[in-house]
């Protein structure tokens, strides 16, 4: 069985501007290196409110509250042409406000690391109690909170990091060890936030697929954080930690890492386990990255625009056998950027796009949409990084020209027809292909697309272990019910034997 069903998907954002202002890497390093500079002083004036974030068109597309095609025609700049009264919930998930997210972080903390102010905890408890995907078991994990004096002392004397809401200290994240940098308050804050984002996406997935938590068999987590201690800095395992909070008691799991290529690699790892029959189902998920909040804000401030990088991105995808009712991942034509493939854009595009198509005897025109790096262009263009999605589609078009499947004059039309607009936050692993899976599956189910390709690319060289980059890709198509055709049953054998005996008998008598 080379096809695996994409049974469900959820996509959530956590609007966390105050985590970003204090712990996003750009403002954090600026403050640490140069103190309260002009940039640091101006940045809060560029922060979007929660309502503004909800009404920002790419955010709505991410959570399934707006059609992807509508984004193509939406007037630019989109931050000056927001939607009116856009809701917090979309068909794929939600945009969670910061106070609830801090509450969810406390829910996800099992080592008494997150302390919330008691008044804040009480307020947020009321808000989370009304949340459609929270259940009593999850909510019961929320602490009653601490006196503000206790939190102040923990911050001033014991190295805890303050957590803010509306400019006031709402709690703190404590360190996990006196000297271990891997268990510093900063690292633990990033890890717990990533875990909480994954939990939120998983809870939404369980609700939308109506899968009981106890029926989840396996979880593969693919964020960019490292959980461990000083003896094993990336020991893991986020996946089981997430499954535990969501009540997936029958599940186990592990983490996959490959920078921004991790989600596509994790999808392939999960699908391979389902396809082999090793697992009845696998959830692939990831939470967001606090360090990337406000990553390009220096340029946004300089250019007098909103600092748009105020959301953590999360997703969860459920894979199970292909019964013909859902779109499927094809495992017989995966794109792989091998060690020897070379690192030029030409080599990478060939390995990830051309080679899988050649394997299936297909051409570039046989794919309705390609989805590679899907960063919101309004975030990256002012920072000098260009329109990343368009650059990717142009590379695919240029390769098609080189292979004689397109003329140079047809390139702009190809880019428009086969590309999609960027709508994902610059959260590293999040924009890399996977945000399109939800929209793609809906369009395939409606018969609008017959084939799409999801492409992940990762900058491995950032870790200083190798100069290589990584990449992987897979194709999604309508389901075929291949799992029903799998193997030979006792009945099948009986029928074949009867048929053969009948033939033999005819031969003897005739």
């Amino acid at each position: 069985m080379a096809h695996v069903a994409i049974r469900g998907y959820s996509y959530c954002l956590n609007h966390t501007p105050e985590l970003g202002l204090h712990y996003g890497n750009t403002p954090y390093m600026e403050r640490k290196s140069h103190g309260e500079t002009e940039f640091i002083k101006k940045l809060p004036d560029h922060v979007q409110s929660f309502d503004e974030a909800c009404c920002y068109p790419p955010n709505q597309v991410y959570i399934g509250g707006m059609d992807l095609d509508a984004l193509v025609d939406h007037p630019a700049p989109m931050y000056l042409n927001r939607l009116k009264n856009a809701p917090r919930f979309g068909k794929f998930g939600e945009i969670m406000p910061e106070n609830e997210f801090l509450g969810l972080m406390d829910i996800c903390d099992v080592f008494d690391l997150i302390w919330l102010d008691e008044t804040f905890a009480s307020d947020v408890s009321g808000a989370l109690a009304k949340h459609p995907v929270m259940n009593q078991k999850v909510l019961s994990r929320l602490e009653k909170g601490h006196a503000s004096s206790e939190i102040e002392e923990e911050v001033s004397k014991h190295g805890a990091l303050p957590l803010y809401f509306q400019g006031k200290i709402a709690g703190c994240c404590r360190k996990g060890h006196d000297v271990d940098e891997s268990l510093s308050a900063h690292v633990l804050l990033e890890n717990i936030a990533s875990k909480a984002g994954s939990v939120l996406a998983l809870l939404h997935l369980l609700k939308s697929t109506e899968l009981a938590p106890g029926d989840v068999d396996y979880v593969i987590e693919c964020s960019e954080e490292a959980a461990g201690d000083m003896n094993q800095r990336g020991g893991g395992n986020f996946a089981k930690a997430v499954a535990e909070i969501a009540g997936c008691t029958s599940a186990s799991g592990y983490d996959v890492r490959s920078f921004c290529a991790a989600p596509v690699n994790a999808m392939i790892a999960g699908a391979a386990q389902v396809a082999s029959g090793a697992r009845p189902n696998v959830v692939v998920l990831a939470g967001g990255a606090i360090p990337k909040l406000f990553m390009n804000s220096r340029d946004h401030v300089k250019k007098g625009m909103p600092a748009l990088e105020d959301c953590l991105g999360n997703f969860a995808i459920l894979l199970d056998p292909d019964d013909g009712t859902c779109p499927v991942m094809r495992l017989d034509a995966l794109g792989k950027h091998s060690v020897g493939a070379g690192s030029s854009p030409q080599a990478i595009t060939s390995a990830l796009v051309l080679e899988p198509l050649q394997k299936l005897g297909l051409t570039f025109s046989d794919v309705d949409k390609f989805a590679a790096e899907l960063q919101i262009p309004e975030i990256t263009v002012p920072a000098g990084a260009g329109d990343v999605p368009v650059a990717n589609f142009k590379m695919i078009a240029a390769l098609a020209v080189m292979k004689g499947q397109l003329t140079k004059e047809e390139m702009p039309a190809f880019v428009k027809q086969k590309g999609i607009p960027g709508f994902a936050h610059t959260q590293g692993h999040i924009p890399s292909g996977v945000p399109f899976i939800g929209h793609a599956c809906e369009a395939i189910a409606e018969g609008k697309y017959r084939r799409v390709m999801i492409i992940g690319k990762g900058s491995l060289f950032l870790a200083r272990l190798t100069n290589l980059s990584d990449g992987a890709s897979f194709i999604i198509e309508p389901g075929t019910g291949s799992s029903r055709q799998q193997g030979v049953t006792r009945e099948d054998v009986r029928e074949i034997l009867l048929e053969a005996l009948s033939e033999l008998s005819k031969g003897l008598t005739g």
């Binding site: 070379g342 030029s344 854009p345 030409q346 080599a347 595009t349 000098g384 990084a385 260009g386 650059a391 142009k394 590379m395 078009a397 240029a398 390769l399 020209v401 080189m402 140079k408 390139m411």
Partner: protein, 109 residues
């Protein structure tokens, strides 16, 4: 230009001499290419890295400038670069770097 790369360029200039060094940029964005070119000629304009206030004046070129293209093996160029020629605004990139080199550079090929 990130601080590590600035240090690598500075170290190479110290070791081999600025007159013996050529910097070839592959940046896909003209504005970014200008900043890189300025960093290795007039010094780091952001005053954040090791090349802040260090005007090395290096011979800096964009990969798409004709001088560099002529140096490259045609078959390797075809295999590694030709696709990106269709994707990028090669003239704008070449002109951006050339302009900075002519303004601040002390050396050429």
């Amino acid at each position: 230009m990130d601080l590590q790369n600035q240090q690598r360029v500075k170290d190479a200039a110290d070791k081999y001499g600025a007159e013996n060094l050529v910097v070839i940029l592959g940046s896909s964005d003209a504005e970014g290419a200008e900043i890189y070119a300025e960093t290795v000629t007039n010094g780091d304009p952001t005053f954040a890295g090791p090349l802040a206030g260090v005007p090395l004046g290096l011979a800096v070129y964009n990969i798409f400038e004709q001088d560099i293209r002529e140096e490259a093996d045609a078959s390797i160029w075809e295999e590694q670069i030709s696709m990106m020629e269709m994707v990028l605004d090669t003239e704008a990139l070449a002109n951006a770097v050339k302009g900075v080199r002519e303004q601040y550079g002390k050396y050429t090929l």
